[in-house]
Amino acid sequence: MSERKTVLQLTGVCKRFKGVFAVNHVDLNVQEGEIHALLGENGAGKSTLIKVMTGVYSADSGRIELCGTAVSPQSPLDAQRHGISTVYQEVNLLPNLSVAHNLYLGREPRRFGCIQWRRLQKDAQALLRQFDLNIDVSESLSSYSIAIQQLVAIARAVDCSAKVLILDEPTASLDAKEVVVLFRILRSLRDKGVAILFVTHFLDQVYDLTDRITVLRNGEKVGTFNTAELPRPQLVAHMLGKELQSIEAEKTASRSDDTANTTLQVERLSTSQGLRDINFRAQAGDAVGLAGLLGSGRSEVCAALFGLAPLTEGQLSLRGNHYRPKSPADAIACGIALCPEDRKIEGIVHPLSVRENMILALQAKRGWWRPLPRHEQNQLAADATARLRIVCSDPEKPIGELSGGNQQKVILARWLMTHPNVLVLDEPTRGIDIGAHAEILQLIRQLCAEGMTLIVASSEIEELVAFSNKILVLRDKQLHTVIEADAISENAVLAAIAGSN
């Protein structure tokens, strides 16, 4: 393996923000024809390092060599010209343009200065076919799911440059089937000699796909290892700097199914978003998991409970009272909270401060004429920061400056402050490092123990199995199977999703 040619070599790269090292003398060596995992907790310096490589930031010191020649990319475009392409966690394309145009944006085939639209479409179609994507490339990008948008972004990056491809959590918004497609493509790219740097939080995928692993912690490099020679517990230990306390599922003792104790009852729920005939019941202290493939209706159930999609049929009741929310404000007043799937668009309010983001829902619930006194706000923010272990030096910092995991915790804090009876979490651990991941799972358990009812939609079955005492498997926007208590296992959920009974 070592006689392979080095494509990208970083030596002693440093980057400081306000005097604090975000990346401290990091070396990295990515070789031709390998998939190299870059791992670390949030705040370990992965994102900063990637931004240095792609020219978003310039390094304070150190060398970046590409195929033996020193480069210092000045902008993402410049990096792309050198042959370093990046696909980010959040799709960075233009949703209002067509898929084809997005693929060739800035490098459209031209004749006499005019864009050759027909050729562009044909090329786009051919390019996507290599990725097993048969979609109408003349449709606007926004008309497709995030997963497809992600694949389009990868197709664009791959087509732009063949030397180094950097993938920053490409699988965060993909479901299992799409991940398989993506991995097949990545492997074939590797076999063609492309060097791939892969950032992810899914350790399964690391072992499934990568050849070598570089671990960062607190801005410093812990080491580079051959994937095959590094056992998983040791990898986790490297990432956290300690052994992760195993968060084995302590199965919740199955309670008697007491109708009188029902917090939330959903009967024959159908909505304008296409949900049909959903029935379930949740008690205080229940954690109800929503499982299913992308588009199976997980998020739609969350939206219906939170008043985001009008009911066309059926009814909801909360603690025995009829419940029909017309807006999030209604839902919040009735004691329901939703931690939404798309944190950037639906969750954080940037550039408002961490404190303001936290108290926003509570303040909205109280009404504008009853402002929370400032000292109370500070107290609430300080309490939440301590309870959820949010890493944030100053609650007056704009929320966008926090890492993804900490932003998610701020949004959770926002909802916990409203003391909801039912907390709906839509993909609560998406794009979050394993440290915060474990903490959020622990929090879910703790909240259930306190008697809150949790409804959690997630594409990570392992995680659902870990904390749910009831899992609803959805298919085609209908309730397919309910798996309860002792019957819950990864295999049972997988089998239900796959459709065999």
Binding site: R16, F17, K18, G19, V56, Y57, S58, D60, F306, L308, S327, P328, A329, A331, I332, A333, L338, P340, I345, E346, G347, I348, V349, H350, P351, L352, E356, L360, A361, Q363, A364, K365, R366, G367, W368, W369, R370, P371, L372, D394, E396, K397, E401, R414
Partner: protein
């Protein structure tokens, strides 16, 4: 510590600009600072500046809120014409009780705000387009009310709004200060300011957090309409006549400029009424200064725009970074966000 640093920063530049313009007067026309107390009222250029600023200040208060939600209100100049026309015609008709006239003027402003707010928040029309409708149609409505004439009137009570005196200061100044304090208290001593800013920063997330985003957008246009109507009454009372064509002409642009000089972004988000007021004073002080310093009037607009460009550039983070890099202080800056 970061916060105090920030507020110092935010206040610093607009205040500095204002100070420099005032200092220019010390050099070129020291009589600018001459104040005199006569007949129970202060006289002097400084008082003049405040007095002439009042209508723009009122517009800018409403505009600051609208811009904070990510909108813009182009119709305020036309609303000035409408409220002026309604008041002038009422005064010339039999119904000239002062409370009734003022109420009618304000009602016109509120109606205009309701139309704007409805188009923007209920029908989702882009604010610049929605308010452009009333900007054009509003002057037409005012002309219809005036039957194409300039309507003059004689009414001491109403004229006092424009030329009267209270607490030793011109009435428009008192009105503008009172409205400023009222709105500032409404925004900062309730949660309204936070809601307005959250709406401007991220309307979707704000909706998810339980804010009634539509109502918030709707109400800021209402407030803007009311402020414009008040400004219209001041202007009409001042000249004791309603000129549908020229009253408040292009004043919406001064108001927008004042908000931007106050550090707000047209994309919505953070706003500051005190800084907006400083922005208004910068604009008006400059106009008065140019006239008093004896520079030929034909240079007026050019000088004004030059000063404004300098202030705006100094406030732009990108520009500041480039300047600092130019002078080799780049290292300290790299920590700042791009």
């Amino acid at each position: 510590m970061q916060l105090t640093h920030l507020t110092q920063h935010r206040l610093f530049l607009p205040l500095l600009a204002l100070t420099i313009i005032l200092l220019a007067n010390v050099l070129f026309s020291p009589e600018f600072f001459h104040l005199e107390f006569k007949d129970g009222r202060l006289y002097g250029s400084l008082v003049d500046v405040l007095n002439r600023s009042a209508p723009t200040a009122l517009l800018a208060i409403g505009m600051a809120l609208v811009i904070a939600t990510g909108g813009i209100d182009l119709s305020v100049g036309a609303v000035i014409a409408i409220s002026g026309a309604i008041c002038a015609n009422l005064l010339n008709s039999g119904f000239d009780a002062l409370p009734l006239v003022i109420f009618a003027g304000l009602a016109a402003g509120l109606a205009a705000g309701t139309i704007n707010g409805g188009l923007v928040s209920i029908f989702g029309i882009q604010p610049i387009v929605a308010t452009l409708v009333l900007m054009v149609a509003g002057r037409g409505i005012a002309q219809l009310i005036n039957s194409g004439q300039i309507i003059t009137f004689q009414h001491e009570g109403f004229a006092a709004i424009g030329v009267g005196t209270a607490l030793g200061l011109p009435m428009p100044v008192i009105i503008a200060v009172a409205i400023f304090l009222l709105v500032q208290i409404l925004m900062r001593f309730t949660a309204l300011g936070l809601f307005v800013e959250a709406t401007g920063c991220n309307p979707t997330a704000s909706h998810y957090a339980g804010l009634n985003v539509k109502a918030i957008k709707f109400s800021v246009y209402g407030i803007s309409g009311l402020c414009a109507a008040l400004a219209g009454m001041i202007i009409t009372a001042d000249i004791q006549g309603a000129d549908a064509n020229n009253a408040g002409l292009w004043l919406e642009l001064d108001a927008i400029l004042a908000v931007v000089l106050g550090g707000a972004s047209l994309a919505g988000g953070r706003f500051s009424l005190p800084l907006t007021m400083i922005g208004v004073l910068i604009i008006q002080t400059m106009s008065t200064t140019i006239i008093m310093s004896g520079i030929e009037p034909k240079y007026n607009l050019l000088i004004k725009s030059l000063v404004i460009i300098v202030v705006l550039l100094l406030q732009s983070p990108t520009f500041r970074q480039q300047i600092r890099q130019l002078f080799g202080a780049g290292k300290a800056m790299q920590g700042d966000r791009v």
